[in-house]
């Protein structure tokens, strides 16, 4: 199954479970407090996921390593390379 397929299946499962419980006819309903909590759940989940995403990306951005030493080392290596290659007869 493709990733899209997995997502659609998952959403269909959760969606139908929520619809069955939240929109049930009068005789089969859950007690009122449970229904009140259940109805806005999809929106709450969406907002929660949005916050999680922002926090995760923000954290990863803040901890993205800056390779100062790597850049400095590369400059040294470039110098050594040019010198050695010149000695070996390379015409830049």
């Amino acid at each position: 199954m493709t990733k899209l397929g997995q997502w659609l299946c998952g959403l269909a499962l959760l969606g139908s479970a929520w619809a069955a419980l939240a929109l049930a006819p009068a005789g089969l309903r859950l007690p009122a407090p449970y229904r009140q909590a259940l109805l806005p759940l999809p929106v709450y989940l969406l907002v929660a996921l949005g916050c999680y995403s922002l926090a995760t990306v923000g954290y990863r951005l803040a901890t993205f390593n800056d390779c100062e030493e790597a850049a400095a080392e590369l400059q040294e290596h470039i110098g050594a390379a040019r010198e050695d290659l010149r000695r070996r007869g390379l015409r830049f």
Binding site: N65, D66, C67
Partner: protein
């Protein structure tokens, strides 16, 4: 005999950097004692890259420096296929020729490969002490944001999908090249996704990516759009 490592270097206008990256590769491999060859696939660069490649071939020998040029820019995927046809190693290293990737990480890739008998070892900028030099906040944000979306949608089992510094078993790369159809950043992503589909194992090594080109070549809206299109295609088809 033992293992041999073929380094594929597709080049376009790398006259300045090519001798430097070749010098670093030769030094790295001589120090580590691994058998190697460097295959330079130049796509008809107008700046004389091929000429300087010929000089390098004379200096280091045609058994170590293999020149396999092409008449014009024909794309990265076909450059790999073309290069592999001439590769006599049982492992292939792919990397950028502009010094953003430092050959010093190759022995670490090799060590990692042996450690876990991996089919692929991927350099990652996002884990451990991997990282980037030369990117401003905006570029880093785009990078992390794109990677996050990719992880959520594709759950690929590798932290750096758009990286292009990797070690492959030769037959694994050959198999993957048959199956991959995307271009650009998405091509590198597709390789990892397909590899997982085919049951290949992937190890990771943190690398530093030194971007000396970013100032001249900003990441444009076009590239972001085509990246998203490619990502959604992979999402819907794999």
């Amino acid at each position: 005999g033992g293992d041999k490592f073929s380094v594929l270097l597709p080049t376009y206008n790398e006259r300045e950097n090519l001798p430097l990256v070749v010098w670093l590769l030769v030094r790295t491999f001589r120090q580590s004692g691994n058998n190697f060859e460097i295959i330079i696939i130049d796509d008809g660069s107008p700046d004389g890259t091929q000429e300087i490649a010929e000089q390098l071939e004379k200096i280091y020998g045609s058994d170590k420096i293999l020149l396999r040029p092409r008449p014009r820019k024909l794309g990265l995927g076909t450059a790999y296929i073309h290069g592999m046809k001439h590769a006599t190693g049982n492992f292939i290293v792919i990397m950028d020729a502009d010094l953003s990737h430092h050959p010093k990480f190759i022995p670490e890739f090799i060590r990692k490969q042996k450690e876990g008998n991996f089919d692929i070892v991927s350099g990652t900028r996002y884990k451990g002490n991997g990282g980037v030099y030369g990117w401003d906040l905006k570029r880093k944000l785009i990078s992390r944001g794109a990677n996050f979306i990719t992880q959520v949608l594709l759950r690929p089992g590798a932290s750096d999908l758009t990286g292009s510094f990797r070690l492959y078993r030769k037959e694994v790369l050959q198999k993957l090249m048959e199956k991959c159809v995307s271009k650009g950043y998405v091509f590198q992503m597709e390789m990892i996704v397909r590899a997982r589909q085919l049951g290949y194992t992937i190890g990771e090594v943190p690398i530093s990516f030194v971007d000396r080109v970013y100032g001249e070549s900003k990441l444009g809206g076009n590239e972001i759009v085509s990246f998203l299109k490619g990502l959604l295609t992979l999402f819907a088809t794999t």
